[in-house]
């Protein structure tokens, strides 16, 4: 399995997905993960049954991210070729365009079978292809789907997107949702001392977790804050994550005069995110584009209701009115109304919390996801 993210190196939700998937798969198969190095992380380690090979990818300075990515592929390919030499691997599993050149080369070098999980597309992230930079990524994604024996998408909306963008035959695509370890993410008592770092005693936490980039729509949430505060002055908005839009978002909060009520925590560890989930009254996922939305599952498994954009994978995870509310994307008024509805009705919040947890356990356990993945692998032989 090749992925540019694997814990402790985390950029988005990919690292968690690959970690959980390999952990579950290693119960039934020998799994090797080839990934990028990270300060302090060992070059090789056994992580929950999977062998992780971390490759030094910071070997030369790069003029830009795309060039860096291609050099990263050069390093991953070299390491992957040495790993595959003389050994018998049944499947090479590629996560996203970022590692596609290395995976495709390895597929041909060992005459192997290639699985490609497309977690999102450049066209979706950028709302179209506008520059040569984006065009290269878009072409790599298409090339990867062409070379792959099977393509995995994490939601039906992604199945439609990938099939139509790259002309992929439907029978080549498997819809396998991302899963979650419901023993790790579960309802727990809030840690009072920890909670005090983010909110006062009487405040109720409205949580956002994710990258601070335009497609996540955090500006829509901040735009809703005044309307929520006018009905519920006890709300406190905790924004977890980093990204290049952070300064802009902080400036919007200041401009709206709500900066005292919107706390940007920066990047937090998994453990701290879980502690915040146990303290959160509800979570908001205001994405404009979201192929899946692993944070939605983390909230559900933790028994936290969500208000999520009715888009992409979020539409398929959230049971409207039962586990949270779905709202039209890019609409602060609708988002504020949904958040206010949950803040106003404690009984509704409790019902949603219970149902969200039940649904996460029923539909998205890692065991079920790993079984489906193995079934797909076996379909190749």
């Amino acid at each position: 399995m090749l992925s540019w993210e694997y814990p402790p190196r985390k950029v988005g939700g990919l690292a968690t997905h690959v970690y959980e998937l390999t952990k579950a798969l290693s119960e039934v198969a020998e799994i090797h993960v080839v990934t990028c190095s990270f300060p302090g992380a060992p070059d090789t380690e056994s992580a929950k049954g999977a062998t992780v090979h971390r490759v030094n990818v910071y070997t030369a300075p790069s003029p830009d991210f795309l060039t860096w990515t291609m050099l990263m592929n050069a390093n991953l390919l070299k390491a992957g070729a040495k790993l595959l030499a003389g050994k018998s691997f049944d499947v090479i599993h590629c996560h996203d365009w970022l590692v596609a050149p290395a995976c495709i080369a390895l597929k041909h070098a060992v005459d192997g079978r290639l699985i490609a999980t497309i977690h999102s597309t450049e066209s979706g992230r950028r709302r179209g292809i506008h520059t040569d930079y984006q065009r290269v990524i878009n072409e790599i994604e298409g090339w990867l789907t062409y070379e792959a024996n099977k393509v995995v998408c994490c939601s039906w909306s992604m199945v439609n997107e990938v099939a139509s963008l790259f002309n992929v035959p439907r029978d080549k695509i498997w819809m396998i949702p991302n899963g979650i370890d419901t023993e790790v993410f579960k309802p727990t008592q809030p840690d009072g001392l920890f909670r005090k770092m983010y909110a006062n005693q009487g405040e109720r936490i409205v949580l956002y977790v994710g990258r601070l980039v335009p497609e996540k729509g955090v500006n829509v949430l901040i735009g809703a804050v005044p309307k929520i505060l006018s009905s519920h002055p006890d709300a406190k908005f905790v924004i977890v994550g980093e990204g290049y839009a952070k300064e802009q978002l902080m400036s919007i909060a200041k401009h709206l005069g709500v900066e005292q009520k919107v706390y940007f925590t920066g990047y937090l560890s998994d453990g701290d995110v879980r502690k915040l989930l146990s303290s959160a009254y509800l979570q908001v996922i205001p994405s404009l584009y979201e192929p899946f939305g692993i944070v939605c599952l983390e909230a559900a498994a933790s028994g936290v209701p969500v208000v999520a954009s009715d888009t992409g994978g979020l539409s398929e995870i959230v049971e409207d009115g039962a586990t949270g509310f779905k709202v039209p994307p890019d609409n602060s008024d609708a988002l504020a109304a949904a958040v206010n509805a949950i803040l106003s009705d404690g009984a509704l919040r409790d019902r949603m919390s219970k149902r969200a947890r039940e649904r996460a356990v029923e539909r998205f356990s890692m065991k079920a996801i790993a079984d489906l993945t193995m079934e797909m692998y076996r379909s190749l032989f």
């Binding site: 060039t67 070729a81 050149p101 080369a105 070098a109 790599i140």
Partner: protein, 211 residues
């Protein structure tokens, strides 16, 4: 078990006539043609967006691959993106008629060369006509440092490194720390071809295989 005599050579080059940008095309052609006259089965895998496909030219099997990503962004993104096509076409040759040794020209085909050497445990010879430090206006720019890194990788992973001139051989030794590996082989010069052939035969006979 691979035969211990030299019978089949795979040449990797980004330029091969008629696609000619610099000196590489002429060198690759001279080598391939001359090897073929020795009765060695020579397969060239090269890049050509306008003339893709297979051909036998002057006794040499030539496979021309194209860029799977058509948008050109920079040479440093182009090379890793075309590398899987080199690996695909080369692997087909290796698994078909077989290959005893790989000869790669310049850093552009270094990545597929290193991959194939590792997977198939084949000896690898590489040739540099020049290195980035000789060509670049600013050798400390990120672009040049990255190209230098890829050149160094190819040189380090190769069993034998050759240069087509003394300047480049000296630079390879000083810049990339190759005190013994870099020797001068001029393509089209018969005595140098004899030297190269004896290097090839020694590598194959000694079973010099990829790590």
């Amino acid at each position: 078990m691979r035969p211990m005599t030299l019978k089949r050579v795979l040449v990797l080059t980004a330029e091969y006539p008629p696609r000619t940008i610099g000196e590489v095309a002429a060198s690759a052609r001279a080598l391939s043609k001359r090897l073929a006259t020795e009765g060695i089965l020579v397969s060239v895998v090269t890049f050509d967006d306008w003339r893709p496909g297979q051909a036998v030219e002057e006794g040499v099997r030539v496979c021309r691959v194209t860029a799977p990503v058509r948008t050109f962004y920079s040479i440093l993104t182009w090379a890793p993106l075309v590398a899987p096509e080199f690996v695909r076409a080369s692997s087909s040759v290796i698994r078909g008629e077989g290959v005893d040794l790989i000869h790669s020209f310049e850093w552009v085909t270094g990545l597929p060369a290193i991959t194939l050497k590792a997977v198939y445990r084949l000896p690898l010879v590489c040739t540099f006509h020049s290195i980035e430090a000789q060509r670049a206006a600013d050798k400390d720019s990120p672009l040049s440092q990255s190209i230098s890194f890829l050149e160094k990788e190819l040189a380090r992973e190769s069993d034998v490194v050759t240069a087509t001139n003394e300047d480049t051989a000296r630079m390879l030794r000083s810049e990339y720390g190759l005190p013994e590996k870099a020797s001068v082989i001029r393509f089209g010069v018969e005595s140098d071809f004899v030297d190269l052939l004896s290097i090839y035969r020694r590598l194959v006979r000694d079973g010099k295989r990829g790590s």
